[in-house]
Symmetry: C2
Subunit: 506 residues, 2 copies
C-alpha cells in the first residue's frame, strides 16, 4: 500500500506541474483579450505557442503513462467514486487524448488561435468576412487534422472534437436531444409571436452610464457570491470567464451605454461560471477531482445564475430599487413589472449572446448544424456566410444585415472552439433540471431571492456539483443530483411557467 500511495502522489505532482504551466497560458490568454497592445499580438502568439508546446510535453510525459498503468494494474484504487479512482480514470482519459496529438500540431493550433482571434477582432469590427475567411480555413484544416489524430468511432470526425468539451458525448445523441427541444421551442416562439402583448423594450436602450453599469453589475455579482478577493471583472471584446488557478478567476464583459442587458446579464452569466470555478476544491488543483465536469455542466451554472436567477421576477424584487438608484434617469417612473417584462422580451434577433431565453437555443442549433459539415468537409468556409444567412432565415424568419451580426459574431471558431456550441444548449437543459432539484431541496427559492439571499442556492450547488470535481461524468451527475437523466422537459416546463403568463398564453 505505501507503494501505491507514493505512485499516486507522484502522479498528482506530474499532473499539477502540467496544470500550473497551462495556467500560465491562461494568464497570457486573458491579457491578450483585455490589455495586450495591438503591436504585441505576434509576440503573444509565439509566447502562447511555446507554452502550449511545453504544457503538451508535460501532459504527455511517458512518466504519467507509466504511473497510470501502475495504478490501474494494482487493482487497489478503491471505490469508483473515490478520489484516487476518479483521478486515475480521468487522467487516463486526458492522457490518451493528448498523447495522440503531435506537438507540432498543438503548437500550430496555439499560434493560429492567437492570430486568428486578432484577425477576428479586426474583421468583426469592419464586418468583413473575407478578411477572416483564410483564418477560418486554416483553423478548420487544423481541427480536421486534430480529429484525425484523435480518432473517432461511427465515422464522425466532429465527435472527436466534441469530446474535448463534453467528454463522452456524440453528435448523434445531441441531435436526438435537440430535436424535441427544437419542436417545443418553435411552437413556443410562434405562440409568443402571435401574442398581442409586447413589453416596452425601449426601457433597456435608454442611457445607462458605463461606470454605473460597471458598479451595479459588480455589486450584483458580489451579492450572488462571486469573490472579488479571488477574482476580477474587466472589459474584453467577447465576454468570458477564465479560471487561472486557485484564488484567481477573471470575468470579462463589454459595456454599451445604450443597452443595459448586454453587460449586466453577461456579467451574471460569467459570474455563474466563476462561482463554479471558485467552488472547485483548491487543494485538488491540477487533478481531475479539482476540475469541472464538462462545458455543458459549466454552462448549466452560468445559465442558471443568468436566467433562472437573474431574469426572475424575484431577483428584481430585490434589485429593482438599487437599479433605480444606480440609473435614476433611465428608470424614473418605471414599474418593476414593466422592467421584468422588458428584460424577458422574446423575439427573433441576430446576436446569440443577447438572445432571450427562448430563442437562444435556436442560435445554438444553427451553429451545430453548420459545424458538423464544416468538419466533415461538406461545407466550405467560403460558403459559411451564405449558408449561415439561409439557415438563419429558416430558423428566425430574418436575414442578418451584415457579417458582424451574422457568422462573424462569435469568437469561437477563430479561437479553435469547434464542437463547443452544443454544450450551451446542454447547459440550458441541465440548468433547468438542477434548478428544479434545488427548489425541491431548498423550498421557495424565489422568496429567498426576493430577500437578496443567494447563499442557500450557492451552497447547494457547491455541495452537489462544484466540490465534486470530475467525480461523475455529466450524465451521471445529473442523474445523481436530480434523479433523472438529461431531458428537454424541465427546460420547456420552466419556459412555459415563465412566459405563458408574461405573454398571456393559455
Amino acid at each position: 500500500m505505501p507503494n501505491i500511495e507514493a505512485t499516486y502522489q507522484d502522479l498528482l505532482t506530474q499532473l499539477r506541474g502540467a496544470a500550473v504551466l497551462g495556467s500560465c497560458a491562461s494568464v497570457l490568454g486573458w491579457d491578450e483579450q483585455t490589455y495586450l497592445p495591438p503591436a504585441g499580438a505576434d509576440h503573444r502568439a509565439e509566447q502562447l505557442a511555446t507554452l502550449a508546446g511545453l504544457t503538451h510535453e508535460r501532459a504527455t510525459s511517458p512518466r504519467i503513462g507509466e504511473l497510470l498503468t501502475e495504478l490501474e494494474q494494482c487493482g487497489a484504487i478503491g471505490e469508483v467514486t473515490s478520489a484516487m479512482a476518479v483521478n486515475v480514470r480521468e487522467a487516463r482519459h486526458s492522457y490518451d487524448r493528448v498523447t495522440k496529438l503531435p506537438r507540432a500540431l498543438v503548437e500550430e493550433l496555439s499560434r493560429t488561435t492567437t492570430l486568428a482571434q486578432t484577425a477576428w477582432v479586426a474583421a468583426r469590427k469592419k464586418s468583413d468576412f473575407a478578411e477572416f475567411q483564410p483564418w477560418l480555413e486554416r483553423m478548420v484544416g487544423l481541427k480536421r487534422q486534430q480529429a484525425e489524430a484523435l480518432g473517432y468511432s461511427g465515422g464522425v470526425p466532429y465527435d472527436a472534437l466534441l469530446d474535448e468539451f463534453e467528454p463522452g458525448a456524440s453528435s448523434r445523441e445531441i441531435a436526438a436531444t435537440f430535436a424535441p427541444l427544437r419542436d417545443e421551442l418553435v411552437k413556443l416562439v410562434d405562440s409568443i409571436q402571435g401574442s398581442s402583448r409586447r413589453p416596452n423594450v425601449g426601457l433597456l436602450t435608454r442611457r445607462f452610464p458605463l461606470e454605473a453599469q460597471r458598479r451595479f453589475a459588480e455589486a450584483a455579482a458580489k451579492q450572488i457570491g462571486f469573490d472579488f478577493e479571488a477574482g476580477r471583472l474587466d472589459v474584453a471584446p467577447h465576454p468570458f470567464c477564465s479560471g487561472m488557478g486557485p484564488g484567481d478567476c477573471r470575468l470579462t464583459t463589454r459595456y454599451n451605454e445604450q443597452h443595459f442587458p448586454g453587460a449586466f446579464f453577461g456579467v451574471l452569466h460569467e459570474a455563474g461560471h466563476g462561482l463554479y470555478e471558485q467552488g472547485l476544491d483548491r487543494a485538488a488543483f491540477g487533478s481531475p477531482m479539482g476540475e469541472f465536469v464538462s462545458l455543458g455542466i459549466h454552462e448549466s451554472q452560468s445559465r442558471l445564475w443568468e436566467n433562472f436567477v437573474g431574469r426572475s421576477q424575484a431577483f428584481w424584487q430585490h434589485f429593482f430599487v438599487p437599479a433605480q438608484q444606480a440609473f435614476p434617469d433611465a428608470l424614473a417612473g418605471v414599474s418593476p413589472d414593466d422592467w421584468y417584462a422588458a428584460i424577458n422580451d422574446v423575439r427573433p434577433s441576430f446576436i446569440r449572446v443577447e438572445a432571450d431565453e427562448v430563442t437562444y437555443n435556436l442560435h445554438i442549433m444553427l451553429r451545430f448544424e453548420l459545424e458538423q459539415p464544416l468538419i466533415s468537409g461538406d461545407l466550405k468556409p467560403a460558403d459559411v456566410p451564405a449558408v449561415w444567412n439561409e439557415t438563419f432565415s429558416r430558423y428566425f424568419g430574418l436575414t442578418p444585415p451584415d457579417a458582424a451580426r451574422g457568422c462573424l459574431q462569435d469568437i469561437h471558431w477563430g479561437a479553435g472552439l469547434i464542437g463547443y456550441f452544443p454544450t450551451y444548449s446542454l447547459g440550458n437543459m441541465y440548468a433547468a433540471q438542477f434548478y428544479d432539484a434545488a427548489q425541491r431541496d431548498l423550498g421557495d427559492l424565489p422568496a429567498q431571492f426576493a430577500r437578496g439571499e443567494f447563499q442557500p442556492l450557492l451552497d447547494w450547488l457547491r455541495k452537489n456539483i462544484h466540490s465534486r470535481g470530475k467525480q461523475l461524468r455529466a450524465g451521471e451527475l445529473v442523474q445523481r443530483v436530480t434523479g433523472a437523466s438529461l431531458s428537454h422537459q424541465a427546460l420547456i416546463a420552466h419556459l412555459h411557467r415563465k412566459f405563458d403568463p408574461l405573454f398571456g398564453l393559455s
Copy 2:
C-alpha cells in the same frame, strides 16, 4: 562558412526560445503588480517559480554551451563589434553566469520573490517592518547563496550580484566614482539650503484630479515618442517599466490627487525606459544584439527624459499651457516661472522616487552603503531600520517618521534586486554625459523642446544607444558616444547650470 552560419542560427534559436519563455514570466510579473486578485498570490508564486525553472533549464541547456564553444573555436566570427561576435561574447557571459546557479536556487528565488513582494505591499501599507523582516532575511540568505554560487573576485560577494545588473562593474570602482559626486552634491545641497529663495511648492499639492493626471501624463509620454500601440500605462503600487518582447512594453505609475509630480515625472521616467525598450532591434529579440546594455544605461535613458527633458524650463514652455487646460483649478494664475521653480525645488526628503535631482543620488548612496554589509553579513536584517534611520539622518539631517517613509519604501529588496540601486546613480551620470553629447550633435535642444519637438533627440538616442543592443559594454559605449569615460563632472556641471540661477547661487 555555411557550417558556422548554421551553428550560429542554431544558437540564436536556442537563445530566442529561452527569451520567449522568460517574457511569459514578465507578463505574469506585470499582472501580479497590476491586476492579480489578492487570493491568487500563492498560485502566482507557483506559476512564476515553474517558469523560472523552465527558463533556467533552457538558458543552461548544454546545447548552448556546445554551440558557443564551436563558434568561439572557429575563429571566424568577424569584427569585435559584428553582430555574431557580440552575440557570442555576451551569450557566453550570461551562459557562464546562469549555469553556475542550481535550478533549485533559481526556483526558490522566484518563489520567495513573489511572496516577499506581496508581504512588502502589506507591510508597507501598515508601515510594519517586523512583518517584512523574515522575508528580508530569507531574501538576503538566498542572495548570499547566489553570490557564492556565482563566485567573485576580490573577496566581495556583493560584486557577484552587481554584475547581474551592471556587467563588469565592481563596488570598489563605484565607490570611487560616488565619492567625488557625493562631495560635490553635499556642497550644492548646503548652498541651496542656505539660499533665501524658496519656490512655492504648495502649487504641486493642490487638487489634480486623477483622470486628468492620467490623460496629461499619457499625452506627454506619447509626445516624447512612447508608442501606445506597442505599450500601455497602468496603475501599480510601485512604478516600473517592463519590456515584454517586441511590440509590448508596459509602464506603471501611481497617482495621488494631492501631489502632481509623483505620477507625472514617474511616467516620464518610465517612458524613458520604455523608449529604450521600444528602440531595441525587434528582429534581434532574444539575442544580446536586441538587449539593453546594462541597468545603468537603462537608467540613463529614464533620467534623461525625466530630468534633462521633463524638468527643463524649455519643456514647460511647451507643456505649461496644456497643463493649465488640464488642471484649470490648480494652475489658475500660476506663472510658468513659478511652476518651473516649484517642480525643481531641492530639499531633503524621505522618499527616493519623489526626490529632487540633487538629493536623489544621496538616497542611492545610502542604499549602497547598507546593501554591501547586508550581503557581507556585517549588517543583520533586523538592524536595518535603525541603521537606515541613523544613516539617513547623517546624510539628510532628518529622521524618517516611520518605516514606510524609511527602509520599507522600495520594492527592490523584496523583489530580490540587491545590487541594483547603484545603477541609478550611474544612470544619472551617464545621462548628463549623453545629454551633453546630443546637444553637441543636435544644436539647441531646449529650443526644440520649447517647440514640442522631441523626435531629434529620440532619433539620436535610437541611433547611438538603443539600436546597438549589447554591442558595447556601458563603459565603452559612453566613451564611444561622448568621447569621455564615466565621470561625475557632466552631472555636477548640469546641476550648477540649472540650480545656481534658480537659487541665486554665485
